[in-house]
Amino acid sequence: MKLRGRVTKRLLYAGTKSEHEGLVLASPEGEFKLRRQGGNPFRDDTLAALEGKEIEGEGILRKGQFIMSGWKILN
């Protein structure tokens, strides 16, 4: 599936064992935590470069996470 939206950083899983700063994709379909297939879900420097950008990603949705296999930067 494809999703479009802006990538922003925020605190995820606040108060849990897995609390960390991570990226989310704010899309018309909702806000999803952003991951790269095969990437580190807690800190991914490849995805970090997308912060603040609007993208169209391709991937799968699993438990509120959008796991991307590819993407293109729209602006």
């Binding site: 605190l11 108060g15 991951r35």
Partner: protein
């Protein structure tokens, strides 16, 4: 009619998944039933979707494999009919669903698991419900032997059934050496857990800098205790130092390195999530990989888990209890049940985080396996004892006593333990002031408060306990969640202050640091 063990599954779903290769699974199942028989266990295979199986016990077949209410109702009917000492669920959730319970800690800003996929309802007498508070008193010994989500190759499940059929009970000494890896930020908590279990945390490895290339000697130890980060649909666990999250443990590095008979307790978020390998580049999860390589049992969480930054709590405790029971000689299923009991018994009431912990951990593996042998009482070596049991074994009799004890404990918990319920009531001004001061002293800026009432079952207010009825009515839990003024990636940035209030008076306060 009483059975020692029931293997419960959905045959239609298995046939649909495996097609022409289904006979391989059926033969493996028969081998397990035969092996159980040689060990003195009378085992029956029941299909919840079979009209014949279910009508024979006066139940209704679960026609829709994903209808959790139908499946739970069918399981209850099977349990009532056969009263098995062990109930083994066969299949991953695409064959036999978990029961989705509402997450008592759900918060879109933090713990965003809307539901907790759980097997604890199958271990409880209560009817189907999505309310986790209905399932705080498990009485049944339950485990799940999963197949591989989404895969039509029967080899995986045949292998797991074979491991269960061929399993050996070993001496305690075979389980003395352990492998443990912890995120560096939690090393003190993990060391405390290991000291309680093994007398020392000296064998603990921290990530970073260690991992994920563990040596065969490390991975070859038969007890693994892991306290790292985990994520959904991810085949790795992660360590942490500051804002670095290196891979600490990786499914692909476990293959063919796990010793037959290994037992694993995992505190990680999503540590026992059964996901489709297609979601992660065809790499099965760590739990699935351990089991394929001959592990007997794996105890972990389906969702986001909790623990304090210092000392032990929540995930630390329930994992410790599971391993300690296994090491004392309990069957894997009984160890899981007793771990839940010990965890719940420690409290007058379960706060939302404790409740989530109780329902989210489950056993993957054949619950009837005793990985470690009991240390027999000295009298068992006496002539009179051997003579008394020469013509009949006492295994079933003593197991019956254990089940009776567990049923009593679970029933008592269900009838006596308090649970929280969200309320719109406001926090007493003086408590709010104390929490605000505590937050200030901890350099915490609060971003939210929640108030909970504590509800006790009616029966828990009767008889001798009636003297606590009035006191309990005036009890509430107030939660303040805030952030420490630390760098964004620093661990421990979020702090929860939990205040227990009695009749408007603060009687207990604790501070939980996020990890």
């Amino acid at each position: 009619m009483q059975m020692d063990k029931v293997i419960i599954t959905n045959m239609g779903a298995l046939r649909e998944k495996y097609g022409k290769r289904m006979p391989r699974i059926e033969r493996a199942l028969l081998r397990l039933v035969a092996a159980d028989g040689k060990r003195g266990l009378e085992t029956k295979v029941m299909a919840v979707d079979s009209a014949a199986d279910m009508e024979a016990i006066g139940g209704r077949p679960a026609m829709d494999k994903n209808n959790q209410k139908q499946v739970k109702t069918a399981v209850d009917a099977v349990y009532q009919a056969y009263r098995p000492d062990y109930l083994m669920i066969l299949g991953a959730p695409d064959i036999f669903p978990h029961q989705d319970l509402r997450n008592p800690v759900y918060d879109p800003r933090g713990d965003d698991d809307r539901v907790v996929p759980s097997d604890i309802p199958y271990a409880c007498e209560a009817f189907y419900s999505t309310d986790s508070r209905r399932f705080i008193g498990p009485t049944r010994v339950v485990g799940r032997l999963p197949d591989l989500m989404g895969s039509a190759d029967p080899a995986y499940l045949v292998s797991l059934l074979g491991t269960a059929a061929r399993h050996k009970t070993r001496a305690r000494s075979d389980y003395q050496k352990h492998f443990s890896v912890t995120a560096e930020v939690w090393k003190e908590s993990t060391a405390l857990s290991l000291a309680k279990l093994f007398g020392s945390g000296a064998a603990m490895a921290t990530s970073p800098p260690k991992g994920p290339a563990w040596t065969p000697a490390q991975l070859g130890r038969r007890v693994h205790f892991i306290n790292c980060h985990g994520a959904p649909s991810d085949p790795n666990f992660y360590g942490q130092r500051g804002n670095a999250y290196p891979v600490a443990h990786s499914a692909k590095r476990l293959i063919q390195k796990i010793m037959n008979g290994t037992v694993i307790a995992v505190e990680c978020c999503y540590g026992a999530e059964l996901y489709d390998p297609a979601d992660s580049g065809m790499q099965a999860g760590i739990c699935s990989t351990y089991l394929r390589d001959g592990a007997y049992g794996y105890f972990g969480s389906s969702t986001i888990a909790y623990g304090p930054s210092e000392g032990n709590g929540q995930a630390d405790l329930i994992c410790q209890y599971f391993l300690s029971e296994v090491l004392e000689g309990a069957s894997l299923g009984d160890a899981a049940l007793r771990a839940r009991h010990r965890f719940a018994q420690a409290y007058t009431h379960l706060d939302p985080v404790d409740l989530k912990t109780l329902i989210q951990f489950h056993l993957l593996g054949d619950p009837s396996i005793h990985a470690v042998s009991y240390v027999t009482h000295a009298m068992a070596r006496a002539k009179v004892f051997k003579k008394a049991f020469r013509s009949r074994q006492n295994v079933k009799g003593t197991r019956m006593l254990r089940r009776e004890k567990s049923a009593r404990t679970g029933t008592n918990l269900q009838h006596s333990l308090g649970t929280v319920k969200t309320t719109d009531a406001s926090m007493p001004p003086d408590v709010a002031e104390i929490l605000a001061s505590a937050a200030k002293e901890s350099a915490v800026s609060g971003f939210g408060t929640r108030t909970f009432n504590i509800a006790f079952p009616a029966v828990a207010m009767k008889g001798n306990m009636s003297r606590f009825a009035e006191v309990r009515k005036g009890r509430a839990v107030h939660l303040l969640v805030g952030r420490k003024d630390l760098p964004p990636d620093a661990p421990g940035r979020v702090v929860a202050l939990v205040a227990t209030v009695q009749d408007g008076q603060l009687i207990h306060i604790r501070r939980l640091h996020s990890r």
